[in-house]
Structure formats: C-alpha cells, structure tokens
C-alpha cells in the first residue's frame, strides 16, 4: 500500500536548497509521438496500418511487416508485470538522488513489451494500467499503475515525480477577482494545497466574492497586478520562494475582431494582461521556481496557464482576444523550454467559452468555472501538460488536427 505523503517539515532557513538534477530530454522524433499523447494524458502506441501490429519502442518500420505506416493510436492500457527490479545504483544524478527506484518489464495485453516505471503498489505478476506521463525533462515516460485503485495511490513516491499534485503545496492564483480565480482557489484548497495565495489587482475596486476569499482558511490575498511590472516584482519578492504552483487565471475576453473595433485600446489591454502579464510572471516567479524544482515534497512543480482554445485558431467574433491568447500560448511554449531546466512543468489549459459574463453571447455548450478548476487539479494530479476542457475545446482540437485550413474557414464563417 502507498504510504500517504507527509506534510513537509519546516525548512531550515540556512540549509542549502539542492539544485534540480537534469534528465536528458533527447528522444527520437518517432518517440515524440508518445510525447504528444502523454502531454494530453492519452495512451497511444504506433499501430501498423497494414498489419495492425502494435509497436514499442517507437520505430520507423513495422517490426512485423516493415510497413512505414505507423500512426499513433489509442490502445489498450492493460498489461501485466512480468518481472521487476529495484535499481539501487544509478548512472544519472537525477536517479542517484532518488534511489531505490523500481522499474519492470510489462507485457501489454495489446502486444508490446514495455520497460516501465512501477507504482509502489505493483510488482511481479500484478495487473497494471499503463500511463504515459512526461518526466521532469518533458520526455514521455511509461508508468505502470495498479489496475485497480489502491489507497493513497496518488502519493506514491515515484508517481509524484511525474505529477504536480497540489497536496501540501503552495499555490498562487494570480487573479482572485474573477469567478474562475475563486473557483480555482476552492478546488486547489480542496485538493490539499497547504496555502493558496490569491492575487488581487486594484484592491480599491470591490468585487464579488471578496468576503468569502478573506474568510477562507489557508487563503491569503496578496496585491498583484500582472499589468504592473513593479507589482509583480514586489509580489514575487514577498512570496516567490513559497510558490510551488502558479496558476495564471487572468482573463481578458472581449467581443470584436480587428476592423469592427475602434482603436487598439482593448486589444492592448488584452496583450498587456495576457501575454506581457505572463512574461512578467515568468520573469519574476520563473527563476525562483526553477531553482526550487527539487525542493522536497513541496518542490516547485508547475506553471499553469488558462488559455482560450481559440489561441490555437483565431475566432473572428473574438478576434483580438484570440490573438492575445495566441501570443500567450506562444510565450508559454518558450517558458516551457526555460522552466524544463528546473523540472517545472508548464501546463496549458485550453478552454472554450465559459459560463462567465464575457462569453454571454457565445452559444452553449460552455464550461463552468468550477469545471475548469476541477480540470486544472486533475491535470496537475495526472501530470498532463496540454489539457482541453469542455466540448468546444476538444472539438477545436479535433478539427485543427484534421484540417487547420478548414477550421480557419469554419470559424471565419461564424
């Protein structure tokens, strides 16, 4: 049985914080097919289009018929641990610091033999459910979970290396003025976060929910306006070393394209808030988080961005906002590369229209703030880095993958 993770002890303030050890992220291009699946929490292997053979490790030709047609497809995750071992001496610093480390040979029911990291509750002979996760370097990793859930399985020491579980961690929600921000505060608290800092911009402006935020246990409001460099710098100076997970909940969605708006004021606000705001957060909080990537049970682990799904393809009804979201997405990709060196995951939550005032005119289906908040916690707990929340976002992903040009025309016709 998994041992429930313990709250981190109070730190010795003069003890050295160890540097995060790096893992190589170098993989073959074919293997990044697994990366793509892992990023979204899918379990895919190459499946030969000609003979159906499932392949692992990823390759360039079918190991059964030599076909080159090897698309990644969802496959059955079930399997059995044929044999396991506990590595006690490892060649890489990262693993040396984490030995003993358990791996095993897994025979998947769908065919391939997989060397996998093992959850503490599985061993030789166990039926397992294989998960594709990403490791601290962002590379895909096979992780064998118990086929049937076990108590405290989420707390498994090895599993926690691949997730960003909020339990016992301290979180900064950058904008607590909105329904989304407040839903996040509740969801993260419920998920066991030790502390939730909530950024409040323009504290002189009242907002709904202020009282309940002030009353909530383990919640602390901090002054933070991501459009103001000095404010972000000051906030990071105050709490930066205590932020293990940063969830950027700022939002700026406005109806309007380019030509039908007068002037660029609203678009500039959107860019200031969404993309330059992200950059300010990255500059002030990123370096501290990166340095704390291996700082114990409550190491820094994730930088979460809430992005409108139309960051991926412009929705002219919300054209300027889509562009600002796209800029934020692009910055998040850069940030992902930069934070990788500390083992910090950048999690992008793509969401379609929300049940919020700015999407009043958008047709259903829409996503409630509470649903989005639960999805963030789920993504953190399961180690995803790209998460599509709600039907509209998933529909957009599918249509984008199938034919980006068609999607451009379809959104443009709406």
């Amino acid at each position: 049985m998994s041992v429930p993770v313990s709250p981190p002890p109070r730190r010795n303030p003069v003890a050295r914080t160890g540097m995060p050890a790096l893992l190589s992220a170098q993989r073959s291009r074919a293997t990044h097919g697994l990366t793509a699946a892992a990023a979204q929490g899918l379990f895919c292997l190459q499946v030969c289009s000609d003979c159906g053979t499932r392949q692992y490790p990823p390759r360039e030709a079918c190991s059964h018929c030599l076909s080159a047609k090897l698309p990644f497809r969802d496959v059955d995750r079930a399997g059995v641990v044929v044999v396991d071992t506990t590595i006690r001496i490892a060649g890489e610093i990262y693993f040396r610091e984490r030995t003993p480390w358990r791996i095993g040979t897994v025979q998947l029911d769908c065919g391939p033999i997989v060397i996998a990291h093992l959850h503490g509750d599985v061993s030789q002979g166990s039926r397992i459910r294989m998960e594709l996760l990403t490791d601290k370097a962002g590379a895909p990793a096979m992780f064998a979970m118990p086929a049937v859930n076990t108590p405290a399985m989420q707390d498994d020491r090895q599993y926690r290396e691949f997730t960003c579980d909020p339990k016992f961690r301290r979180v900064l929600v950058t904008d607590g003025r909105t329904e989304i921000g407040q839903a996040l505060v509740r969801a993260l608290s419920d998920a066991g976060a030790r502390k939730v800092f909530v950024g409040i911009a323009n504290p002189w402006k009242p907002f709904a929910g202020k009282q309940s935020l002030a009353r909530a246990e383990n919640v602390e409001c901090v002054q933070l306006d991501v459009t103001d460099t000095a404010s972000v710098v000051e906030c990071a100076a105050q709490i930066g070393a205590r932020v293990d997970i940063l969830v950027n909940t700022t939002e700026h969605i406005r109806l309007g394209g380019l030509m039908d708006q007068t002037g660029i004021g609203i678009a500039r606000e959107a860019l200031e808030l969404r993309s330059l705001g992200l950059m300010r957060l990255a500059q002030s909080f990123g370096p501290i988080m990166r340095a704390r990537g291996a700082d114990g049970v409550d190491s820094a682990c994730a930088f979460v961005n809430l992005l409108a799904a139309h960051a991926l393809m412009n929705w002219p009804s919300y054209g300027a906002s889509s562009a600002a979201e796209a800029a934020a997405l692009s910055m998040s990709q850069c940030l992902r590369s930069e934070l990788r060196h500390g083992g910090i995951r950048v999690v992008n939550m793509f969401v379609g229209p929300l049940e919020t005032e700015w999407y009043q005119n958008a047709p259903p289906p829409k996503v409630s703030p509470a649903t989005l908040a639960r999805a963030v916690v789920q993504a953190l707990c399961s180690g995803q880095e790209d998460c599509f929340v709600g039907e509209v976002a998933r529909d957009l992903r599918a249509r984008l993958a199938a034919n980006p040009k068609a999607l451009e025309r379809e959104l443009g016709a709406a």
């Binding site: 402006k205 009242p206 404010s231």
Partner: protein, 258 residues
C-alpha cells in the same frame, strides 16, 4: 507686485510659500472606474529602460504610460461633448495665461466626512462668500473635502451602486460659471463631479457646464488644507499634447507667507 525678481526673492525667503497640490504618480493610484465594456482609463505604468545595467550602463530612465486623466490632472473643454466645438478647447491651444490664476478654497471637509455623497450647493457658496467675499472672476474654485487623505479603498469608495464621493450640485456649477465666471473647478476626488453624478440632470454637471463654457477642471488634488480660503495663486500647466483632452501635471500653489 510687478517686479518678478522681487517675487522670486519672496519665494526664496519663504514669504511666499510654494505648496504642492499634486498626488504622486504610482501604478496603484485609483483611476476612474467605468463599466468594462467602455474604453478604460489606463493607470500609470512604468517600465525601466535601463538602470546602470547592460541596457544602459551609466544611466537610469523609464518609459511611462498613462491616460490623460490619470493621477492629478487637468481637464480641457474638449474633454466633454459640451465643449467639443469651442475655440482653444484643447491643452495645446488653451491660452497659456490661463495656467496661472488665483484660487479660492471652499472647505467642505466636515460635510464630506459626514456624508460621502455631500453636494456643494449655491447656498454653501453664498455662505462661504458671506465670510470670504465674492469669488473673484477668472479664479479657480477648489473644493476641499480632505478626500486625498483617504486610503485607496475609501478614496474610490466604490459600492454596488457606484462611487460615493462628494462633488458639486448641478445648479452650483451653473452658478459658478454663469454668476461668478470662474476659470475652472478643482477637487481632491477622481473627478470634478460627485461619484453619483451619472444620476444627475444633466449627468456629470461639472463636466457638462464647465467645459461647455470653456472652463477647466483639476482633479486628484491634495494639500488643499494648506491653502487660504482666498489669496492663493496656482500654476497648473498641462502637457502640450496636440488636441489633448487633458493632461497629468504638477499643480503648484503660491501662498502668502504668514
């Protein structure tokens, strides 16, 4: 006093005091709150260009951005629709002699402390004149409320039904413009109008009447408690922005020494 050197010597000697009526520009200072579907007043923002570093090894400077109506600022007639067609209605065309003028201060601090929605009436003005004499023509009329001493939350004083801050009643503004020929109206609050002035008839009378008659506004003033009721002269010169509707500025008062 026509000898300017004598005037300068009086300033240097302190027989004329110089009082700063300006709030410091900071990112946190409240700005006018409008419904979010309207265009928004940009707050003050500052980005360092260099600070003795790789971006400029021996010098420090910043790029700043703000609205024409951020912080202590000047309203030109063109700011309001009622003043849009007047001559010399923008900050770059206003005659410069208008930037130096006497000021009277009507102290309503007590009333404002008692009632955030306090409105200055004609009666209040007449009561003031009974003590201090008739307001001289072409003077600034400044409303002292001590609002500038409040913290940001109480300063903006926003509630579900909008801001609650003191200001002039519509008829008082008309009186000042039409009966007393003031140069402009100045307040400590975010606007020259009261927080609830959107409900007045006409809405925002200080803006409507003052600017409609080519008069000016000064907002977010401070230190009005250091001015005499009469006898101060203020320097309030906005930036020379082409066609500008207003401008942040440094407002300085000259006060006879005691």
């Amino acid at each position: 006093m026509t000898d300017l050197l004598e005037f300068a010597a009086a300033i240097a000697a302190g027989t004329i005091r110089v009082v700063d009526l300006t709030q410091t520009l900071t990112p946190e200072f409240p700005v006018l709150a409008l419904p979010p579907e309207f265009g928004q007043c940009a707050p003050f923002r500052m980005e360092t260009v260099s600070r003795y570093d790789a971006r400029g090894p021996a010098w420090y400077w910043n790029n700043i951005s703000l609205n024409e109506h951020t912080g202590t600022h000047f309203d030109a007639p063109i700011h309001w629709i009622s003043g849009r067609d007047l001559p010399a209605n923008a900050v770059d065309t206003i005659p410069v002699q208008n930037f130096v003028a006497p000021a009277v201060v009507i102290d309503c601090a007590a009333q404002s402390a008692a009632d955030a929605d306090f409105l200055l009436t004609i009666t209040d003005i007449q009561d003031w004149e009974a003590t201090h004499g008739r307001i001289p023509a072409r003077s600034w009329c400044l409303l002292r409320t001590d609002w500038s001493r409040r913290d940001a939350v109480d300063y903006a004083n926003l509630r579900d039904d909008g801001a609650h801050t003191p200001g002039p009643a519509p008829e008082a503004v008309r009186f000042l413009v039409e009966q007393r020929d003031v140069l402009g109206f100045g307040t400590e609050t975010i606007g020259t109008d009261a927080g609830q002035a959107h409900l007045f008839n006409p809405p925002f009378p200080a803006h409507f009447y003052m600017h409609g008659r080519g008069r000016y506004g000064l907002q977010c003033l401070t230190n009005l408690d250091q001015l005499p009721a009469v006898g101060a002269v203020i320097f309030a010169a906005p930036l020379k922005i082409r066609g500008g509707s207003g401008s942040p500025l440094r407002v300085i008062a000259l006060v006879p020494g005691t």
